[in-house]
């Protein structure tokens, strides 16, 4: 299913989140199972199915990585659920160093300073990768799509790091 089509949005990475939210509410109203309560069993079933599709689509389009994965899948490159290991030594070494930095926080004399340092590095890299992802996807050709897939893989590590950092911050409070 093409989520962009369902939401009448152009199939591209850049997305107006406000517009997405508005379309979501409109579609939800339109396909709300209560509206089809008087219909046939088949109508009711279709409305329930469509309501589920709308929720899945909204969830996927809202998040940049899921949106990018969906866009690639529409172009015939499916990378969600892949179990392949990522093997780029320099990138992984940097990940290892950032993980080590996070591990130091709990024993640090000034944990907040380390949290800020880690946060800054993660945000900076994330931003740069998201920019690269945007231009790779905008190019819209197989070579750049493969580059985009690799950028998504890298971004997943940074989203995970960000999540880990948030957990640490919670324990610091």
């Amino acid at each position: 299913m093409n989520y962009f089509q369902l939401f009448h949005l152009p199939a591209q990475f850049e997305l107006d989140l406000t517009e997405l939210g508005t379309r979501y509410l409109e579609l939800q109203r339109q396909f709300h199972p209560d509206k089809h309560a008087a219909g046939s069993e088949r109508d009711k079933l279709m409305a329930v199915q469509q309501a589920a599709n709308i929720n899945d689509a909204y969830h996927s389009l809202k998040q940049p990585l899921l949106r990018a994965e969906h866009l690639l899948a529409l172009r015939g490159l499916k990378i969600s659920n892949e179990q392949r290991s990522f093997m780029e030594p320099a990138f992984l070494m940097q990940q290892m160093e950032l993980r080590e930095l996070l591990a130091e926080i709990s024993d640090a004399a000034d944990p907040d300073a380390l949290i800020d340092e880690a946060d800054q590095q993660i945000q900076q890299q994330k931003k740069a990768l998201l920019r690269q992802l945007q231009s790779a996807l905008d190019a819209n050709n197989p070579e750049h799509d493969h580059q985009a897939a690799d950028i998504i893989r890298k971004l997943k590590f940074f989203f995970k790091l960000q999540h880990e950092l948030e957990l640490i911050e919670q324990t610091q409070d």
Partner: protein, 127 residues
């Protein structure tokens, strides 16, 4: 999720955690990661001039199964030749640790770490 007793044992008492000096010519380093869960694994092998793995160390940031898989692998590779170590399959690791299907990728990661370390060794020794 319920971990097997073997996973818990390796998780609570991980074998061979740590690092060797990267620039030591007898040390081969394999780095792998799993984008889906953000796990990062480093496996280092100390290989003598007969191509036998004398020692191994690992450092893994990830779930219990990923840590257990890498810990187990450091035990298994010791004393093996690099060719023998290359034959270790993720299915052997998964079976030994009784990993559930959703954690099979952790054993794939450990197998790939061995392969990456051996590739690093071969690259550095020019064959």
């Amino acid at each position: 999720m319920a971990y097997s007793t073997k996973v818990i044992d390796h998780y609570e008492n991980p074998r061979n955690v740590g690092s060797f000096a990267k620039d030591d010519p007898t040390i081969a380093t394999g780095m792998v990661g799993a984008p889906a869960c953000g796990d990062v694994m480093k496996l280092q092998l100390k290989i003598n001039d007969q191509g036998i793995i004398e020692d191994a160390k690992f450092k893994t940031y990830g779930c219990g199964s990923a840590i257990a898989s890498s810990s187990l692998v450091t035990e298994w590779v010791k004393g093996k030749s690099i060719d023998e170590a290359a034959l270790i399959k993720n299915t052997d690791i998964a079976q030994e640790l009784a990993l559930p299907p959703v954690k099979i990728h952790c054993s794939i990661l450990a197998e790939d770490a061995i392969k990456a370390a051996i590739a690093d060794y071969k690259q550095r020794h020019g064959n």
